[in-house]
């Protein structure tokens, strides 16, 4: 199946032939292979896995910040994300540090305030990033 994976400032894949894509949809993770029924989904921060065709079918993993994925009738899948980073490029120390900062901010913010909501989102995103690279954050 063909994958188009683009970010606002660069295109990671355009017309790439891959074997499977596993997408972190907001309603749950789902995998797309050739002849998948057409589907459109909003993405949640999570891991996008691209399983390549050639050789040993290696898996490329990206952590995405959200976005949209549309699979067409002809198995072409468009994935658009505002930001994406390869798991290998994520710094585990930075993730834990940011998680702790967000946790403190969450605890000290007023209940129901914007600051608390923002801190919560930051915590959840960092937790998901941590989980993606094998770091358990609590």
């Amino acid at each position: 199946m063909t994958l188009n994976f683009s970010l606002p400032h660069e295109t990671i894949y355009a017309g790439a032939e891959v074997s499977q894509v596993i997408i972190p949809g907001e309603a749950g993770e789902y995998g797309v292979t050739v002849n998948h029924v057409p589907i459109i989904s909003q993405l949640q921060p999570g891991v996008l896995q691209i399983i390549h065709e050639d050789g040993g079918g290696e898996t490329e993993k990206y952590f995405v910040a959200g976005g949209y994925a549309l699979t067409h009738e002809n198995s072409v899948t468009d994935v658009t994300c505002p930001e994406a980073v390869k798991l290998d490029d994520i710094d585990p120390d930075a993730v834990s540090k940011n998680y702790d900062t967000a946790k403190t901010a969450h605890a000290s913010a007023e209940l129901g305030s914007l600051a608390q909501a923002e801190a919560q989102i930051e915590m959840e995103t960092n937790k998901a990033m941590g989980a993606a690279i094998g770091l358990t954050l609590a």
Partner: protein, 341 residues
Amino acid sequence: SVGEKTLNNVFADSSAHRSRHATIVMDGKANAIRDRIKTVQNTKKITTAMKLVAAAKVRRAQDAVLATRPFSETLQSIFGGLVTRIDTDSLDIPLLTQRDVKKVTIVVITGDRGLCGGYNSFMIKKAEARYLELEKQGIKGEFILIGKKGVSYFKRRPYPIRSTFDCTQNPDAKQALAISDEILNTYLAGETDTVELMYTKFVSLIASVPSSRTLVPFSATEITEKGDEVFSLTSDGGNFSVEREELEAAEPAEFEEDMIFEQDPGEMVEGMLPLYLNGQILRTLQESVASELAARMQSMQSASDNAGELAKTLNTQYNRARQASVTAEILEIVSGAAALE
């Protein structure tokens, strides 16, 4: 000449430079006109280099614009497809709903640096005029300023400024995100009724066209129908020139009957709008930076041309003085010899 006077005014009266005469003594020592010629030639080298650096940066801006296109096109296509499935008027999406306009936020893009001719002052004048125009209509205005030049102008005067940002020479998605966050927060908190953007379209190396567009609230039809425009710096007979291309809007995505919608289409449309705004801000920033660079290229070209002319004038002056000095020496020798006879 004016050039000479300008150069003359730079040197203090007591400086050694002044005491050297404009006439030439062929003694191998320093000379006023020769110094001036050297200075002018150096200036020309610098301004020529600055022009070429600006041209290289325009190419980079051009590539950056092209790199954003697949994302924007896909988004536009998905948006178009979703919009055909729902009636946007029936949904209560604040970002798509027109409000009664009593307050307008004007986002103005200028540059961080000078030496770009009239680029910054032209935009600042237009922004000021828009503010006053709104005031006349009884509408309150306020500014979100991008670019140090705009910031320093408006801060010195009693204008309401909501926030300021740097422009930089290489706008990136992170920057665009900070700006669009600010715009969305302001609009959704009800602190403004509409947000307009004033930026400079990159049309040609000579002309800069200040353009304005309404960022928020969005119009669903405009998002689906608006085609993109891209620019490219090319060379035309040994000179730089700009080509501008209007592109078609992306076709709305076809959604089959058995298409699975993981989320409600209305919800997806609403979620997409901030992403669309990000893309718009990034593009207009890139376009404005390209215009700024082009203006810098032009102004550096003019400076180089002026330096070239001045060097020519000074050279002629130098040669005449040299010839006069040689003639005077010969006359001295000849009259001395004649006196001895």
